[in-house]
Symmetry: C3
Subunit: 217 residues, 3 copies
């Protein structure tokens, strides 16, 4: 399997899991059929469209290659009809989201490097490709974006993007090192979820002695 | 009248009705003069800017041709000063919105086809051009986007975009078939509004026997 | 100092103040370290990315030149650790925001003119470059965008953008006229804040005689 075939498959797999993630979030909000397909579509293709715009690959793949839109629409519609019972839906969204994050981060970084974007910019584009779909999904379904609440989300993507940039700089391209980077993102994200890792919040000034501190907003 | 003149006029008419739609929504929220003009501007030109970016027509028409920004600003300001009394404003917004949806869907699809985007992608770009302005207007004025609540909205646009793609594929271009597609979108949307058509929502698991089901959110 | 060096420094200064503005808003919302850096990053670079996309300068400077992302990240992180006590934070955000608005409006307008965008479009792109970062910052932190509430915000940017377009048309380029335009935007914005200038709101129909009018929303 060539790198370009592997990239296509990884990209379509990312489209499918993000479409499922978006559709599940929309089902949880009780949106109707079109709303479910639309949120799935945007979650699956939004990050890639932004990536293609900033690397001047136009029209973006989401519009140039019907397999992208087709994968997103079929997956989201399948989730609408076949979704499991509601109890475990929130966990499903989080795991699918972690998988999409890892796949899109890696393919986004590789595409930016191939488009001659310098290393720092390519890593940022990879991270944004990874987190963009979930960000838009959360805005559309009225949730505070997960990326702002759980810092290990984007940090996991950033770690994977940096690993891809370093590996490419050292000449390690091809499916195996890229898979390793994807596994890194997925693993860090799942561990962070499971162990409830969190980043520091801004220091508060100490409350006056004897008085209770203000409640956090 | 040439196709290109007809497209320009249809595009400017779409700009005017979406500017009026955005401005009316902003008036209903009691925004001030600049807020009204700004929401009108974004509602009128947002969808087209996205369309031009994905088909690599830069700078987008909204910036390259002053008649677009001028039409949007004058229309929105006129709505601010001259808007009718408030009672029927919500209906006005919905009808103007349906007109803008139909005009932008058709011109967006045609422009994408002319930019050599494949049929599926061109239809999607047409639909996004049509629904983009209303989506942004709703986000800016704090409403849940109409496209997520009333599925026949984007579905009407999609039907019109598919009709344009089919007609172009059969060699039927020019104002008359395009007008037919625009009328289709407008008519379907108004019928859906009038008859309160709605799409299915996700199946719920049956409630425990004897207990009432949970109310939908 | 050449115009291009002056533009770079003004641009990086704008990045720093908008990153500080975004980070301060995120600190006020008690977001964690990554959330603070992310909001700072988007507030600092969002307007410029949109500007570069519409003038077809790809990849956008934010990704092509690591000094942009570096300035934003370091500034936002510094605000996280070193931010002053909370009492005066809101004022700090507003003043930094006014400075970013003035710098980005001027550099955005100049870049659009250099990319051969016609005058009206160049002024609009300059205004959008200036107001884009604050708009995204407010959406991400759950505030109604300041641009919709305080009309003198974008109006100040528009005045500065028009001044830049006029000065360039008259052949007055270089740091001194551009600095004058930046000072104009900053001054108008601060005056508007200090004196609570506001634009008219839509006329209401007079309440029935003897009955109190409805409270404004």
């Amino acid at each position: 399997m060539t790198t370009s075939t592997a990239l296509l498959l990884a990209d379509l797999a990312g489209v499918a899991v993000f479409a499922a993630s978006g559709a599940s979030a929309a089902v949880a909000k009780r949106l109707d059929l079109f709303g479910v397909v639309f949120v799935g579509f945007v979650a699956a293709l939004g990050g890639g469209i932004v990536r293609d715009l900033v690397i001047a690959e136009v029209p973006p793949l989401a519009f140039a290659d019907w397999r992208y839109a087709g994968t997103a629409a079929v997956t989201a519609a399948a989730i609408f009809w076949l979704h499991p019972q509601f109890a475990r839906l929130r966990t499903t969204v989080l795991v699918l989201d972690a998988a999409g994050l890892s796949l899109f981060t890696v393919t986004g970084t590789v595409k930016a490097l191939e488009a001659q974007v310098p290393p720092v910019g390519a890593g940022l584009i990879g991270m944004i490709t990874g987190i963009g779909g979930g960000l838009v999904r959360d805005l559309l379904t009225g949730e505070i974006p997960v990326v702002l609440r759980r810092e290990i989300y984007a940090l996991a993507a950033l770690a994977g993007a940096i690993l891809v940039v370093l590996l490419e700089g050292l000449g390690h391209t091809g499916p195996i090192p890229l898979t390793a980077a994807a596994v890194l993102v997925f693993g860090v994200r799942l561990l962070a979820l499971r162990r409830r890792w969190s980043a520091p919040v801004p220091p508060l000034r100490p409350p006056p002695t004897g008085a209770p501190g203000p409640p956090p907003q």
